[in-house]
């Protein structure tokens, strides 16, 4: 029942994703590059072993960010702080991984937890202001997001965390061996964060649709007034969801550090670029549903990796991917247009 519903509704996002992708790719004409060539490069390079392992690396971070965004979206909040919370999660888990060295069975969960707490901490000001003062969360989360990478540079530059052997780039010391996530397929880069992300998606699904808390969250998002009449403390629900969402984005950052990068490189966390933004678009394309997000996160991690491939083979900058995401998001914002187009194509209502 539930699954059927998702796929029925996923016609709109799917259609807008395809439309946005095709138009986004076609826009490379403006840069003087043949879009057909770009498509050919994409298909060829994505079937390579290296690309597949890159996708497996990007996927968990992207999925965590998507889950983070959709959780708050379900309770009626736009959490655009996902990029910042992701950065803080990465930062906190790096610090933990450098400073502590217990047995892996204790150390890995604690490192992940510190990532979770870091993300939640970065959501806290926005959540608090939303709760207490009803401040528009779009503005506060974004200002926090812009602050996060700068804060990251500040922390990584501190003695004891900065890697003194690296002179040219700002990077932290590598995390201890005991904090690294175990690899699932040695040599390919596929690590257990993949499993963690999938488990998280299922847990978010259960939380939203199989528990009382989930009912409260969704009721708050659908109609806060009605929810309040039914005795739901909507402000508290929003606050807690906000923190949980920040934590999920933080886990994404932690997974990226502990699973793949093993150190905090300041240049991978510049501005708002990265998985935080992809996660937001992925959440929309996934129909703002955890199960749908698994597929859309796969799509967007593929898109990000294809951006890397295009950069190598066709000299299209990596950032071009963000533009494609923007075009996709533009179509997401126009459900009426998509519905009209689908009706004209026939059949689907």
């Amino acid at each position: 029942m539930e699954l059927r519903e998702i796929f029925e509704k996923s016609w709109y996002p799917l259609f807008s994703a395809i439309l946005g992708f095709v138009i986004g790719i076609s826009l490379v004409i403006l840069l003087g590059i043949n879009p057909l060539k770009v498509m050919a490069i994409l298909i060829i390079s994505l079937s390579s072993r290296m690309a597949l392992s890159e996708i497996a690396v990007a996927f968990p971070a992207c999925l965590f960010c998507a889950l983070s965004f959709l959780l708050t979206f379900r309770s009626g909040i736009f959490n655009f702080g996902t990029p910042g919370q992701y950065v803080l999660g990465a930062l906190c888990s790096t610090i933990f991984g450098i400073l502590f060295d217990y047995h892996p069975l204790i150390n890995i969960p604690l490192a992940l937890l510190s990532g979770f707490l870091g993300g939640a901490l970065w959501a806290l000001p926005a959540a608090f202001l939303k709760w207490r003062r009803n401040i528009n969360e779009v503005i506060t989360t974004l200002l926090l997001s812009f602050t996060a990478p700068i804060f990251g540079i500040y922390i990584v530059k501190l003695p004891g965390i900065k890697d003194p052997t690296r002179v040219n780039i700002i990077a932290s010391l590598p995390v201890n061996e005991s904090a690294k996530l175990p690899s699932l397929m040695p040599g390919v880069g596929v690590n257990s964060s993949l499993l963690l992300a999938l488990i998280a998606a299922i847990l978010v699904y259960i939380l939203l649709w199989k528990t009382r808390i989930g009912v409260r969250i969704r009721a708050t998002g659908l109609n806060p007034m009605a929810a309040r009449y039914h005795g739901i403390d909507t402000d508290r629900v929003m606050f807690m969801t906000f923190l949980l969402s920040g934590g999920l984005a933080g886990l994404g950052g932690a997974c990226y550090i502990l699973g793949t990068a093993h150190a905090y490189y300041a240049r991978t966390f510049i501005g708002l670029s990265g998985y935080g933004l992809s996660g937001i678009v992925a959440a929309f394309i996934g129909g703002v549903h955890p199960v749908g997000s698994i597929f859309s996160a796969l799509f967007f991690s593929t898109l990000m990796v294809s951006g890397l491939m295009l950069n190598i083979k066709a000299k299209v900058p990596v950032d071009y991917v963000v533009l494609i995401q923007g075009v996709i998001l533009a179509f997401v914002a126009m459900p009426l247009l998509i519905r009209g187009a689908l009706k004209r194509l026939g059949g689907i209502k």
Partner: protein
């Protein structure tokens, strides 16, 4: 040390950093008043900054660069209008799609044209105006030696005030923001008014971007806007959606920015001074919003669709 920070150049820097904020914030205010908040100001500043640099680099004329930038801003906000006005899309999602496009396009252009993703080469841009009459008065000379765009900003400020308060268009903007349904039945073309309001906001935001790149740092870099578009939105929310208060808020945020730049120069020897001073305006904006803001006025309007 305090006397080092509080100098005449602090006032001058405050003015030059306030001017683009005023443009972006008042433009955003017009769009917001018409009922379609422009969340894409950030992206428009970002892209406007690089377009201005590119045009100025190839033509050598900052004025042509400013006009082209304004045209790009109009085009972007027209697309935003297609999404949020014509198709009645969600303003936040629609605005962010434009933001994403700008965030993706600007580094792409920088890499394709100048070969460097993070920074463009220096461009001479606008030289500051020299006021010859008061050459002798040192302090006043420094304060008044702003770029022509800064002077233009204050001219636009007056024009915008007249437009919003003394003309029919201004009344239509407010009417279509207050209740689009009533405005529509009273013969106001809500859609056209909203398109125009969005385009005013887009043009002004793009010019603000040109002001940052051509007038202040003379190049485009990845951190050109760094949240300033959202600070502009915060400014008009803080100013309770009133033009005068918004201008005041812009001066406050511009002062914070100038203060942080001054602090960076004074505390340069300290560990992490650059980062702390970069974070300062953003964090203070959040704190100020937290102290003064409350209630329903923080909400964004819903799109209007004719039944």
């Amino acid at each position: 040390m305090i006397s080092e920070i509080l100098s005449v150049s602090l006032i001058a820097t405050t003015i030059s950093f306030t001017a683009p904020l005023i443009l972006a914030a008042l433009g955003g205010l017009v769009a917001d008043k018409s009922g379609v908040p422009n969340v894409a100001i950030e992206g428009m500043i970002y892209l406007g900054g690089i377009v201005a640099i590119i045009v100025c680099f190839f033509t050598g004329d900052p004025w042509i660069a400013t006009f082209v930038t304004a045209a790009i801003g109009a085009l972007l906000s027209y697309i935003l209008g297609l999404i949020c006005v014509k198709e009645a899309g969600d303003v936040v999602i629609g605005g962010f799609s434009i933001n994403f496009i700008c965030w993706g396009l600007a580094p792409t252009l920088s890499l394709m044209i100048f070969g460097s993703k993070g920074m463009t080469p220096m461009v001479s841009g606008f030289p500051p105006i020299r006021v010859s009459i008061i050459e002798e008065v040192g302090a006043l000379k420094e304060i008044l030696s702003q770029t022509p765009l800064t002077y233009l900003t204050f001219l636009i400020l007056i024009l915008l005030y007249i437009l919003m308060n003394k003309t029919k268009f201004g009344k239509h903007v407010i009417a279509s923001g207050l209740d689009p349904f009533v405005a529509d039945t009273q013969g106001v073309d809500v859609f056209k008014v909203r398109y125009l309001a969005l385009m005013i906001s887009g043009v002004l935001a793009a010019i603000a971007g040109a002001e940052y790149s051509l007038g202040i740092i003379h190049r485009w870099s990845l951190g050109l806007s760094a949240g300033r578009g959202f600070i502009a939105i915060a400014a008009y929310l803080f100013g309770r959606r009133r033009p005068l208060e918004t201008t005041g808020a812009c001066f406050l945020f511009g002062f914070l920015e100038a203060l942080s730049i001054r602090l960076r120069q004074v505390l340069g020897w300290m560990h992490g001074a650059t980062e702390i001073t970069q974070m300062l305006p953003l964090i203070l904006t959040i704190i100020i919003l937290g102290i003064v803001g409350k209630g329903e006025f923080m909400k964004f309007a819903k799109p209007y669709r004719r039944e």
